[in-house]
Every structure is written in C-alpha cells, then in structure tokens.
Symmetry: C2
Subunit: 309 residues, 2 copies
C-alpha cells in the first residue's frame, strides 16, 4: 500500500511516495515552494510533484505536514508565519480536488510524532512525546494512542514551555522558553554571545557557527562549547522531565538538526532526566534520538494519512 | 439516577449519595479511615458507610478517589504514601464484593477534574486542566473528552512541573516544583521563613499560620503577605501558561484550600497568564476557581462512575 507524504516548508517542499509496509520512500522530489507566486500556484505545483513521484502507481491518500496553526479536521491552514497570506486557506480541499484523492493536513510537529509512531522509534508505543530541535523547537504528543491537539488544534507547543524563568528571550516574547535555549537558533546565538569572552574557542574556526560547531567543540573539550552544551542539556532535561511527569510516556523521541549531536547531547540528558523524575517514573520511559533523520518530514506527512484512515 | 462517591483520605473518608441529574449530595457521612486497623477493616467500614448513605436507595455504582498511584483499569491501589501497606491492593474488587455493585477507583486529582467535568466548572468542556492547591498540588487533565493518565496511569503530575529551577526544594527531591511554591504547605513554609525578617507581619497574629493567613494579610497590604502571594502567583502563572501551551484547554479550574483565597489570587494570575500565552492562545481559555468547594471530593469520586459507565 502506498501513501504520499508532503513536507511543506517556507522555502522548499518535499514530496515522497511511501511504501507503508516497509516505510521506504520509493521516489521523492524536492521543489521550491515559491510562496510569492500565490497559494493556488503553490498547490498546483504540489499536485504536479505528487504525480511525478506516484508515476502511475496507485496511492490511498496524501498527507501534508505544514508549519503553522492547522485545522486538521478540515484540512485548513488557519495561519502560518511561513505563508503570510494563507489565512484560513483550505489547503487540503484544494489539493484534493486537483488529485481526486483524500488529503489530510497536520501541523509539522504533530506529523513528526506520527512519523515516529508509524515508521520510527515510536512503533508499538501508545504514549509518545516527541521534540524537534531545529530553527525552533516543535512538540508532538501521542497519548493513549491518539494525537493530543487541544480544543483549537494548537496544543503541545512543547517548545514554549518555560524552563528558565528570567532566561533568554524567546521569539514568542517570553523569557526562558525551551526554544530560547535548545533550538539551533538559540545555540548559535549563545555561541555568538560567547565570542567576546572566548574569542579563541574552536567554535569560531568552524565553517559555520551553528549547533554542529558548538557540539563538535564541546566534544573536543572546548570550554565555551561545553558551557553551551551543558545549558542546552539542562534546559532539555527540565523540559523532558516535565513532559514525563505530565504524559507518563513510554518513549521520548528527540529529532531535528540539533539531535544529530548524538551522544554528547543524549548521554548527559538521560542522566539528568533520571535524577529529575520521581521514583514512580523511573524506568517507565526511554529517551531516544529520532532514527528518521532527513526522511522524518515525508514519513511524518505520510503517517497523517495512516492515522486518519 | 444515583451514584455513590467516596473521597478517601489518610485520616478521614467521606461518602455521599449523589443525584447525577442535579449534582446534589442527598446524604453524606465522614468517618475516620483508621489505616492502622488494616485494609480489610477499612474497606468493611467503607461498605457500611455506603449502606448508611444509600439507605435502601438504588445506585448504579461506587467511585473512589484515592491518593497514590492507581491502576484504574483494575481498581487497584499500586501504592500510596497515605496507606503504607496498601501495595497492589485490589480496593475496587474488595469493596465491589461486599456491596455487589461495580466499583471504580481513580487517583484523587483525576477524580477532581472528572468532578469538574460532570458537576462543576468544566460542564460541557472537552479540554480541561485542573489543579488542586492543597497539602500538595495535584493535577488532572481531560483532553478530547478523555482523562489523560499515561502509560502506567501516573501522568498529569502537574504539581511536579518545575517552574522555578533552583527554587525551594520539593518533597519529591527536586527544586522549584509548582508544589514547592503554590501548595498550602509551601505557603506556610514561606511565611515561617519570613518571620525573622518580618516579625511584625500580621500573618503571625492570625490564629493559625497558613495560606489563609497569608492571603488575608496580603489583602490588608501586609508586605510579607504580598511578597508570598506574588511568588505564588508567579509560579502558578508559569505553570498554567505551560499547561495552556501544552493542552490548549478551554478551561483551567483551580481548587483546593489555597484557591479559596479568591480574587487576590485569581485576578493577578489571570493577568499574568494573559501576558505569558502566545497570541494564538489569547481568549481560547478561561481560568476559574472550582465551584465545588468542600463537595469536590465526593462529587469527583461519583464522577468516576459516570465517566466509566
């Protein structure tokens, strides 16, 4: 059985034909989104991309993971910072008409946790907390087998849980959100803030000053790198312990670019969370790095179809 | 239609016959629990109390709200700090045999949110976050109409979400849990800590040094009272904003002894939460004081039956 997953971003969208049995992506394309050309044209190009990857193969439906606030029952993008003029835009209906197939739309962080449930580390789990550490920090939760979305479909904003009151300001305006410390953007910001005090840190001899450079430096014993890594781990540990106390999940999956730091992030994170959770929660959960890596977007989007049909 | 609710505490248990239409408690008794006499005797006395309040009236079942970790599918008390020897005790089955009626057991904080849904401020709501500010801070969440309990039934420990890292130590061992600042116990502790610096605070001329004395003093412009009240409000505001971002509820209900402070607590809390939530969450929720007051326990327990049948 095949489904199509569309990972919709502000700059590019990726479309893949997914074999639901094996979780393999048989064909995929990555096209420019070209938001400026208007939403109707964007959707038309998405339809063309679907035809290209399906290439005559039958598929049961299309899932779209989109940034922003999504009315998933009706496939509507309420609003999205990435698509300023997509206000209450019937993305699902518009694409469905062009393809004559069912189309489901979900917030991209929710798509991520669905992807983990159907194809990733969350297989067989009914209680999953998922975090994506990228430009921002996204969150998705499956509880008792179902996606938690809240009254208006805007819940599980796990990146905006406050973990360091009076901490750095977040894009949302608050201080000390998880996103303000553990996102790729925040890690880069903390590196630049440290440059005056640590001009010789090896972070600044990296090709690009980013999360990878920070964790690489930390791994080599660079002091600034280690200080930033520790702060990220502490913030994540408080967040993850909170989520464990709230959702009592069997697994916490962490993905996104920052998660590729691997063990230098996950080893101390696991240790700190173990100290923070109450005795009754010990050994009730595992914390894992997302195995889906660069396919997380397409597989997550494809999972929306499986969760709905 | 009638149900019986049992609010089980370490010192007393309350039993009430509840009219499910009106939410009225027709008859109620409060008996000593006498844990030391052994669990079989406690349950026997609970059965006697049920017979006394039902008084020949037919009822469809019994709900028990119990502190501790509850296996609600099987009516089992896994463990409870209040009943040290009740390890994996089949409380529901034991009482059910004596009464020949279905008996359902749930954690008391979960019973509280169910009580709000069926009889209180949460009527007609499918997304409810509830907090009880008492000796500890308990939490219960209804999301998409269903109780969130997690994989092992131990979730929604909202009182142990960290809102002030490096804050006061909590009974659980962590620092800065909501419970370590916003529980009645914590408020009393902060008052006593302030006594050296503010010996003339009117808190210390109250009959009892407790949350009521602190909020009464704050209301009269007492500086220590105001400082403690502000800290409690700040901690609660961070917690409640986090829960709104996580669950996107339509209502947040706050009960327990501390909530009786009323407006001096709720007015600044509403204002601060309004500042903390992201624009998309503005006007999606209300924050209310539990209307059930001293009947919350029995009505919550009775609701467990309604939620299960």
């Amino acid at each position: 059985m095949y489904v199509v997953g569309i990972d919709l971003g502000g700059t590019f969208f990726k479309v893949g034909l997914v074999d639901t049995e094996s979780g393999e992506i048989l064909r995929k394309v990555e096209w420019e989104t070209r938001v400026a050309e208007g939403k109707e044209k964007v959707v038309k190009r998405m339809a063309q991309a679907v035809l290209e990857v399906s290439n005559g193969e039958d598929y049961i439906g299309v899932g779209i993971g989109s940034p922003g606030s999504i009315d998933h029952d009706n496939g509507i993008v309420r609003f999205s910072p990435n698509f300023p003029d997509w206000i209450n835009f019937n993305l699902g209906g518009t694409l469905s008409k062009l393809l004559n197939k069912p189309v489901f739309v979900e917030n991209d962080a929710n798509a991520f946790v669905l992807g983990e449930k159907w194809f990733g580390a969350g297989k067989g789990h009914e209680h999953i907390v998922a975090l994506t550490l990228g430009t921002g920090v996204g969150g998705g939760v499956i509880s008792h087998g179902k996606l938690i979305t809240g009254k208006d479909g805007i819940g599980t904003e796990l990146g905006h849980v406050i973990v360091e009151p009076n901490g750095p300001q977040c894009g949302c305006g608050n201080y000390g959100c998880l996103e303000a410390i553990a996102s790729a953007t925040a890690i880069r910001r903390m590196a630049l803030e440290g440059q005056k005090k640590f001009p010789e840190s090896e972070i600044f001899s990296a090709e690009e000053i980013n999360a990878k450079a920070v964790f690489d430096a930390a791994r080599n014993g660079d002091l600034l790198g280690q200080m930033i890594a520790e702060r990220v781990v502490n913030a994540l540990a408080i967040g993850v312990a909170n989520f464990i106390h709230i959702f009592n999940p069997s697994i916490v999956v962490i993905g996104g670019g920052v998660s590729r730091a691997g063990n230098i992030l996950f080893a101390p994170l696991r240790e700190k969370v173990r100290h923070l959770v109450m005795p009754s929660f010990k050994d009730t959960y595992t914390i894992v790095q997302s195995p889906l890596v660069e396919n997380a977007g397409i597989l997550g989007a494809a999972s929306i179809v499986l969760q709905n049909l």
